[in-house]
Symmetry: C2
Subunit: 458 residues, 2 copies
């Protein structure tokens, strides 16, 4: 079944590239409420063009979820979760070409969001379009769930998932992202880390002061520095009491997967111009930390004068943005409470905490049909075994949208080892993109077959 569809996809490369380039021109930065309406309108047009179908705009308290369903032969359903919002483009000055003017060079497309997550979103539409255009009937129902707030923490998705549980239900969900390793091996990922994203704010006098006053007036920056210092030590140990208590033990199967999981240390260090990894780790320990351990990262910090030259000022406030990446078992609500108690216990009662994202981790079992189908497809399109990852080090609302509803979810996609997600010069390889479309088409049939041959594998 793949061949005719693959030929069609190959012949229509330019069309599918154009769909993606046009989408990437829209600066749909949810954090800054830019281009969001345009992105939704673009998707509505594309559904119309590709499937003569009007998608639903399911309202949330934030940006709407674009939802569409296409009927297939069987009563089984495969769903695709993607997001149409992207990260802000700064630092703007480090982009070789403007973030929202997609540029093709050396076989790659450069644009904010092309890897995370517009490339995958369009590939999944293109695959179904191609199947239909060559006259094949869809073997399963297809559901598209495209949200607009993934990059700002999917704050409204848990409520959405509960409200529309029936509508979005499926027998397997293809998660939003997917990457290739440095050697081209495709990753199949079975889960995501959770997240607690907070903004800590420390306040002093009601105005910035001449820094001569620093002798007698408390500094909110020093207070923030001292508070941050109590959160994590130089051995990367997170010091909030109870932080590690609820982490689920790693299963033998997870650990086996880890031993097959490839992390090209030399390539990564070379790319980032670094001498080594954190704490001098390598091999199994490094992979363990990457996949199975939670983090406490400072995404941003700012206070006082940050311009050129010298300004002698005692700042009136200081802010730090921190993301904790959580692993299965850790509840962001509980971590938040532990953080508050920890700050209070250390004399930082007056540092405020604003939560901007709160998500549980999720991990799908490797024996599910969706995982099996992905591995089969990956093997069809490569002579290399895919790289199965128990969960990615990244985050998404997989728990709320899938695991809590009993939907197995896994991911593969069109990104690569140097895609620069969330960073300047984000990109994908055009060849990966076209092959990614073919693989999604193949997955739809492969997923259907798992149920035909075995009744239900669940």
């Amino acid at each position: 079944m793949g061949n005719k569809t693959d030929e069609f996809i190959e012949k229509n490369r330019d069309l599918y590239i154009k769909w993606l380039l046009d989408f990437c021109e829209i600066p749909s930065v949810a954090a800054q409420n830019r281009g969001m309406t345009e992105a939704v309108a673009y998707l509505e047009d594309l559904f119309q063009t590709a499937f003569s179908l009007e998608p639903e705009k399911l309202q949330t308290e934030g940006f709407p979820v674009v939802f569409a369903e296409l009927k297939g032969k069987s009563d089984k359903t495969l769903s695709f979760y993607n997001h149409y919002d992207v990260q802000p483009e700064d630092p703007v000055e480090l982009w070789q070409t403007p973030a929202f003017e997609p540029d093709i060079r050396d076989g790659k497309i450069y644009a904010r969001g092309v890897a995370d997550n517009k490339g995958n979103l369009i590939a999944r539409l293109a695959a179904v379009h191609a199947i239909q255009q060559v006259g094949e009937e869809l073997p399963v129902n297809i559901k598209y769930i495209f949200e607009g707030e993934e990059e700002i923490g999917s704050l409204n998705l848990p409520k959405f998932a509960k409200e529309y549980a029936e509508k979005i239900h499926s027998d397997g969900c293809v998660w939003e992202f997917g990457y290739r390793d440095a050697d081209g091996t495709l990753q199949v990922s079975l889960g995501v880390k959770g997240m607690l994203y907070v903004e800590l704010k420390s306040s002093g006098a009601n105005t910035d002061l001449h820094s001569a006053q620093a002798a007698i007036i408390e500094s909110p920056v020093w207070k923030l520095v001292w508070a941050l210092n109590t959160l994590k030590d130089k051995d990367e140990k997170i010091l909030i009491p109870g932080f590690y208590d609820d982490i689920e033990p790693i299963t033998e199967l997870d650990d086996q997967m880890l031993s097959h999981y490839q992390l090209d240390e030399a390539a990564l260090l070379n790319k980032l111009e670094l001498d080594g990894f954190v704490l001098g780790l390598n091999g199994h320990e490094l992979k363990h930390k990457h996949i199975f351990e939670p983090t406490c990262n400072i995404c941003g910090i700012v206070s006082g004068y940050t311009g050129e030259g010298t300004k002698t000022v005692l700042p009136s406030e200081a802010t730090a943005k921190i993301d904790f990446r959580l692993v299965p078992g850790q509840d962001p609500e509980k971590i938040l409470q532990q953080l508050r108690e920890h700050l209070d216990a250390n004399g930082f009662e007056d540092i405020s905490i604003l939560v901007t994202s709160s998500e549980m981790a999720a991990r799908t079992k490797p024996d599910e049909a969706i995982v099996d189908a992905m591995i089969s497809v990956a093997k069809q399109y490569s002579d290399k075994e895919p790289n199965i990852v128990p969960n990615t080090p990244g985050t998404g609302p997989m728990y709320e949208l899938c695991q809590a509803l009993g939907i197995p979810s896994a991911s593969f996609g069109v990104g690569n080892f140097e895609s620069n997600n969330h960073a300047p010069n984000e990109n994908i390889n055009i060849d990966d993109y076209i092959e990614g479309i073919k693989m999604v088409a193949a997955l739809i049939f492969e997923f259907s077959k798992k149920f035909e041959t075995e009744g239900s594998v669940r």
Copy 2:
């Protein structure tokens, strides 16, 4: 001698206010190299208008020093040190009216630099102008030394002072600034703290990364936070070994002055909307800390994403700007070396240090003619004893320009307790400004008298 001059000053209020407003319209921010040429041109015009005199522009490696000399009756010389540069105006959004569009409301002039230091600079020109306009002869020679780099640490002034030692020599120097306490009492200040201003920079990967990578890639922000934490503890003790070693002991006379020095604690706390001072100090201990103790202050810190909303990023670098205010005996060069050694010893060898300012503290003895004259004038213009301060908590190149050349220096001026130097809504009272002009005129005669009556008091 004062009366005729004072009457002239009173009659010409509007003229002298206009001189100041016009000067404050020029955004002479040395840190950003804005408006500096215009500020020098304005001073050249004003010298021409006021004295039919062309001042010299003495070149340095940075902005020129504007210098002028007016001959008087005696061979004694009084010099005025001021600066024509100002602090940057940010945070711009907190100004009620634009920083460089001087605004008069409620008897005050609001503008960046009006208190620090343009009000004093113009007052000292206006005083001599008024004396000459009423037909009085100057009793002493007058020298004006107006530099353009005070707010960026007067980096070129030490070399300038050595090169032009003879030209700038005087028998007493009126230092740039001066303030009134909350109850209107005039401060006479005998010295300044020194300063070491450094920018600490910590670097990580060669680009910002998706924060999922924080599990395995070192964070330059965490490194900076940990390094800063080793510099000062929560008890405000600076932890750099040797930092306090060279501080000169406080003399009995200094301590006596401190007991007369007024710090209106309630007024200051009320103005800043604070519950208390650092470490809960008050009274003598608070004043001691303010005047006699060095500081380690974070003027600014920045890393990663500081915009709206959520961005999950592992930043590639982090920077902090720190000013150490030093006291007599402390050598900024030595402190810098101690800082480097301290960072190295704590595993922060790769945090770089950029020095942007380095100045020694200075303190004039209270029995000098210039001090005596200031106190006499202060008493003439008020029924309150002036508030004598051994040194201000602020910094300036007094050591290099005066103390090292054997020139006694002290200061009074037109600022007030709520002048908001280096902060939004900087201002002075118009009445203080006009009285300040009169007091400078009176000081010129009073200073001369000290030598007439006693030969030389030195």
